[in-house]
Amino acid sequence: MRKWLIMMLTVVMFGGLLAGCGGSGGSGAEGSSSGKVQLTFWGDWGGEGQKQFETMVDAFNKSQDRIEVKYVLQQDMVTKFLTAATSGGAPDILFWDRWRTSLYAPKNVLRPIDEYMTRDGLNEGDFYEESLKELTHNGKLYGLPLTVDARALFYNKKMFADAGLEPPTNWNELEQAAKALTVWNGSKLEVAGFSMGDPGLFNMYLQQAGGQMMTEDGKTNFNNDQGRQVLAFWQRLLNEHKVYKIGFEEGLGEGTDAFVTGKVAMLYTGPWMMSTYNKYGQDLDYGIVPPPSGPNGGQGSVMGGFGLVIPQGSKHPEEAWEFIKWWTANKDNALLWAKTSLNMPGFKPALEDPFFTEDPLWKPFTETLEFAKTRPTHPGYSVMEENAVIPNLELFMQNKQSLDDTLNKAQEQGDKLLADNAVVE
């Protein structure tokens, strides 16, 4: 009897453990009582972003009576998707940081959408070529762009007017304006003429100088004249004109943002900062111009943004495609999304609406997007940039490494990281 008891207890406890591990398998996304197809849409935007997503989901659900989409907020979405993709329970639609495509597409967890595109007669020309390139792997397209963004130059109009300056259009004018607007009080920097806090913008400057981060065959491509031009430009700004001090903007929150409080006269940033500036900068009068061009007239900015993709595990890819098409490839809906979230939609016809073309703050961004390029689609690109390029640039900016050493080391370490993180087919 007692033995029985022990056995029972052990079995119950062990069973409990197993249940705890293996639970949440079924997604329960089958047709419900209403007869509609239920779709799950995963994203990692909470707060305001969640409300914006839900606005779109509600509008879609009301627009037809066959499909019902539900937005599910997943804080650590990519990690959860990893488990879901292998053990079942993957969502039907995934909000997707586009640069990850080159990493995930070779693993066969995303569904190509080419056949849907041709069947429904969608025109690839309606989307930015660069954003589609980022969603493509081995000639197959894996999703459609939901948002596009790029950095442009924000400047403080009042400071420019006081100094009698025009917004810069090239590196030389940028340098002169930055120099003129910088104010030092002894060893204390009061106004930085130009923000140089983010060495991650190297890619953008390199494009302006006429260069590219990577060669076609997957090697780094900045240890050359173009790379040297960028670093020489930075050196002039930082050491000769002292327009910035390392760490100047560190830890300044939204309300104390250096641009809002007039401590930075110019900076590169994107449309995502406009709501912060409008909210906290009641006295801030700012303008935006496309990034100034480099010494040989080259223009450059880095295009980023998100897309929508369908995981291979989705049981209703047709319906998921309906939802993606409705949202990203329809002018009215893309515009509704833009106005709701203040994001630039990936659908070009929506960007031709007066909402964008007649607003002086949006116009420079649509102009910038014409020449902006996405990051190279090598799966090791982000680690290469983060672990090899940026650290060496930081040493350079703090005068702890010479220009040539910086480019040599960044190339050597970068090439190694690219090789180590290349796709294993």
Binding site: L17, L82, K107, G251, N387, N421
Partner: protein
């Protein structure tokens, strides 16, 4: 005799029954994952598609991974400064607050409070205090006519900033452990020492410190493990920068495993980290002589 045996057997059976839940949890959540990770470190596991045996390839790649070894040096530097300071400050605080005086409880609470703050919230406040132009610390230095550094952004001071912040956050809980240890030292030892005319320092040197050996071992091992696994504070305060000086092994392992989907290689990195923790724990055990009995 037979009944005694039977009783013993019964007790042994019940004992196994009582430890079963803990051992099961330990096996399922500790032993199995560790064995799995060891196995995975010999494969090219990527979570999604591939899962092939690659032998020692991952370990060969480790040898040439300069960035990984740099992150190890980073946390070693951190541990060498952080662990002794942590022991010293928390022991001093505990001795100061191990008195029956008015207000002592209030101070204990104050010193413990930072422990309750989340790393992210604390780091946000510290970044602000360490700001080169508007921060409290450089503001005070300016009164003395010193131009303070850009603490978290400069290669020389970035790790120091993290050390200061994590000390502030962790001495409180270690102080509590030391307080408990101090209160466990038998009063009669001090009494007889005083009768023999021992000085206060001699009392500390020959009674308090040896009696606290197990406590010191616990605190130092926990501090070493925490130091080698440093992640969140460094991530929020400096994002591993500038120039990789505050990047840590845990950060790299996460990046390699979850961002780059090279879980096999990440497992190999994690095993090296586990070995490092083991070695340092043994060294700490030797130094604090934790295995010797307290007289």
């Amino acid at each position: 005799m037979a009944s005694v045996n039977k009783l013993g057997q019964h007790q042994a059976r019940m004992a196994y029954l009582f430890i079963t839940p803990t051992m099961l949890l330990f096996a399922v959540f500790m032993v199995i994952p560790v064995v799995m990770a060891l196995y995975l470190s010999f494969t090219n596991y990527d979570v999604l598609s591939s899962h092939d045996w690659v032998g020692l390839d991952n370990y060969r790649r480790l040898a040439g991974d300069a960035l990984l070894w740099q992150t190890f040096l980073n946390v070693m530097y951190y541990a060498v400064v952080f662990v002794p300071l942590n022991l010293l400050i928390s022991l001093l605080l505990a001795m100061l607050l191990n008195k029956r005086k008015v207000g002592v409880k209030l101070f204990r609470t104050f010193y413990y409070l930072p422990t309750l703050t989340s790393a992210v919230a604390a780091a946000t406040v510290w970044i602000w205090m360490l700001h080169p132009e508007y921060g409290l610390i450089n503001g005070l230095l300016a009164y003395l006519g010193i131009t303070g550094p850009a603490w978290v952004s400069q290669t020389e001071t970035a790790m120091l900033s993290i050390i200061v912040m994590t000390l502030w956050q962790s001495v409180g809980s270690n102080m509590i452990i030391y307080l408990a240890g101090l209160q466990g030292v038998p009063e009669h030892l001090y009494e007889s020492a005083r009768l023999d005319g021992a000085s206060r320092f001699a009392c500390f040197r020959y009674i308090t410190w040896p009696q606290l050996r197990p406590t010191t071992f616990l605190v130092s091992v926990m501090a070493i493990i925490g130091a080698l696994q440093l992640f969140d504070q460094a991530f929020v305060l400096t994002q591993g920068g500038p120039a990789n000086v505050t990047k840590t092994p845990v950060y790299l392992i996460y990046q390699q495993g979850f961002n780059q989907l090279q879980m096999g290689y990440a497992s190999a990195q994690a095993f090296v980290l586990a070995m490092a923790i083991l070695v340092f724990s043994i060294i700490s055990m030797r130094i604090t002589k934790a295995e010797e009995p307290i007289v």
